[in-house]
């Protein structure tokens, strides 16, 4: 028996904010060691928070 995961990875709340610690080309390395593709967002640097979904960063968060 397989029950639904606690969060659906397709849907809205599975897009998560994560902090980039290193940028390597189009790839960002996140605090937890996972990587995310940065090609669809502008000017991301180490320390930025990005919204990640399905392996791709969709936005840079404003931290005001």
């Amino acid at each position: 028996m397989i029950l639904p995961p606690p969060r659906c990875m397709l849907c809205g709340d599975a897009a998560v904010a994560a902090r980039v610690v290193r940028v390597d080309g189009d790839e960002g390395v996140l605090e937890d060691g996972e990587t995310v593709d940065l090609e669809l967002v502008d000017d991301v640097g180490a320390g930025d928070l990005v919204l990640c979904h399905a392996g791709v960063a969709l936005q840079v968060l404003e931290e005001r």
């Binding site: 028996m1 397989i2 029950l3 639904p4 995961p5 606690p6 969060r7 659906c8 990875m9 397709l10 849907c11 809205g12 709340d13 599975a14 897009a15 904010a17 902090r19 593709d37 090609e39 669809l40 967002v41 502008d42 928070l49 919204l51 979904h53 399905a54 392996g55 791709v56 969709l58 936005q59 968060l61 404003e62 931290e63 005001r64």
Partner: protein, 368 residues
């Protein structure tokens, strides 16, 4: 955790509850549709139905991408997965969605090579690693997910990966909202619009709801305080006689969305003339397919698919749940013939589905 803890603050939630109590007119119902399954999940998980005034009624909209995939498309996916030499990749939630002749998980049990991935980029990596296999990715989701598919297609073309294709079932959010608004007799006073779809498409695509239908819209994030604030913003608009598109999720959503993501989608995909939605039927210009330039990567062009329409089980009332006509617990098979362990309808499959969310968090509090 930044952007999580502060949006689960009891102090802020209490303040918003007080604000809402002051805004709502006693005895006058306010029916708000949360479009996204992520919102539905938060509403039940955090018990928001008990925190808002009794006049506020949440209707659960069509924004769970797993829930709206018709059974015929699942059967098409099964036929792809069962082809010899195909390595079929899918997001985890689609594994259990029942088609007319079973699920992908059952096909896997019968020997099909079905693998779960977290990103279409992972599927492309599998294609690179297994050049002797035909790797197909089951692309499902709204505009939140479509950019990752678009980016993957651009990479596949750039790298010349010839053993990779996409079975495209991406859908767009605005057309079903229009279909719901055109449903005769449906009473919705305002919409909580999906935050992460809006991170891509921006807020402009919702303008028609306020302009043409006179309903307020608030684009909302997904934590409980976010949703309470969005409800308060909607009720305030209604109280003041306004109908505007407002943005509660300002930390992520810009008016213009993400132009790069939209450009990648536009380069790789185009609207289908019509697409079938579970529970809503055919909706014109609501689904995406690959452009002709990407035909070599289009599973629908590369392989022959059954393409049959499959009717939902007669007892299943997912369609009525998906347009907010009935609550999950009002479905005749909720919690009996249809459970998370043995889902009959898609709303019970995904954790974002209204029925699964209610079953997980709210089923002990079924209203009398």
């Amino acid at each position: 955790m930044r952007f999580v803890d502060e949006f689960r603050s009891r102090r802020l939630a209490d303040a918003l509850r007080a604000e809402l109590a002051a805004l709502v007119e006693a005895g006058r119902p306010v029916r708000l549709m949360e479009v996204c399954g992520g919102h539905t999940h938060t509403i039940y998980k955090h018990g928001l139905t008990d925190l808002v005034p009794p006049e506020v009624d949440f209707l659960h909209g069509p924004g769970c991408p797993v829930c709206v995939i018709p059974m015929g498309r699942v059967d098409d996916a099964l036929s792809l997965a069962e082809r010899p030499n195909v390595l079929f990749t899918t997001f985890g939630d689609m594994l259990r969605v029942p088609g007319g002749r079973g699920s992908l998980l059952e096909a896997k049990a019968r020997g099909a090579d079905v693998r779960m991935v977290y990103s279409p980029l992972d599927a492309l990596a599998l294609a690179r690693a297994h050049p002797e296999r035909e790797v197909v990715f089951f692309a499902v989701g709204f505009e939140t997910t479509a950019p990752s598919t678009a980016l993957t297609l651009l990479r596949a073309r750039h790298e010349g990966v010839s053993n990779f294709s996409v079975f495209c079932n991406h859908v767009t959010i605005a057309p079903p909202l229009r279909a719901i608004l055109d449903t005769p007799g449906l009473a919705v006073d305002g919409f909580v619009a999906p935050g992460h779809v809006s991170a891509v498409i921006g807020t402009e695509p919702y303008d028609f709801i306020a302009r043409d239908y006179g309903k307020p819209v608030v684009v909302s994030a997904f934590e409980p305080v976010d949703i309470l604030q969005s409800v308060a913003m909607l009720v305030r608009q209604l109280r003041e006689g306004r109908c505007e598109v407002e943005n509660q999720y300002t930390r992520v959503v810009r008016r213009e969305g993400n132009p790069r993501a939209l450009a990648a989608m536009a380069e790789t995909m185009e609207l289908r003339e019509t697409f079938e939605w579970r529970g809503l039927g055919e909706i014109p210009w609501s689904g995406l397919r690959l452009r002709d330039a990407f035909a070599p990567f289009d599973a629908e062009a590369r392989y022959e698919l059954p393409g049959a329409r499959v009717a939902d089980p007669k007892a299943c009332q997912c369609g009525e749940v998906l347009v907010g006509a009935i609550k999950p617990w009002q479905c005749r098979v909720f919690g009996t013939a249809c459970t998370p362990e043995h889902p009959l309808g898609t709303c019970m499959v995904s954790s974002e589905g209204a029925c699964a969310a209610f079953h997980a968090y709210g089923r002990l509090q079924v209203p009398a």
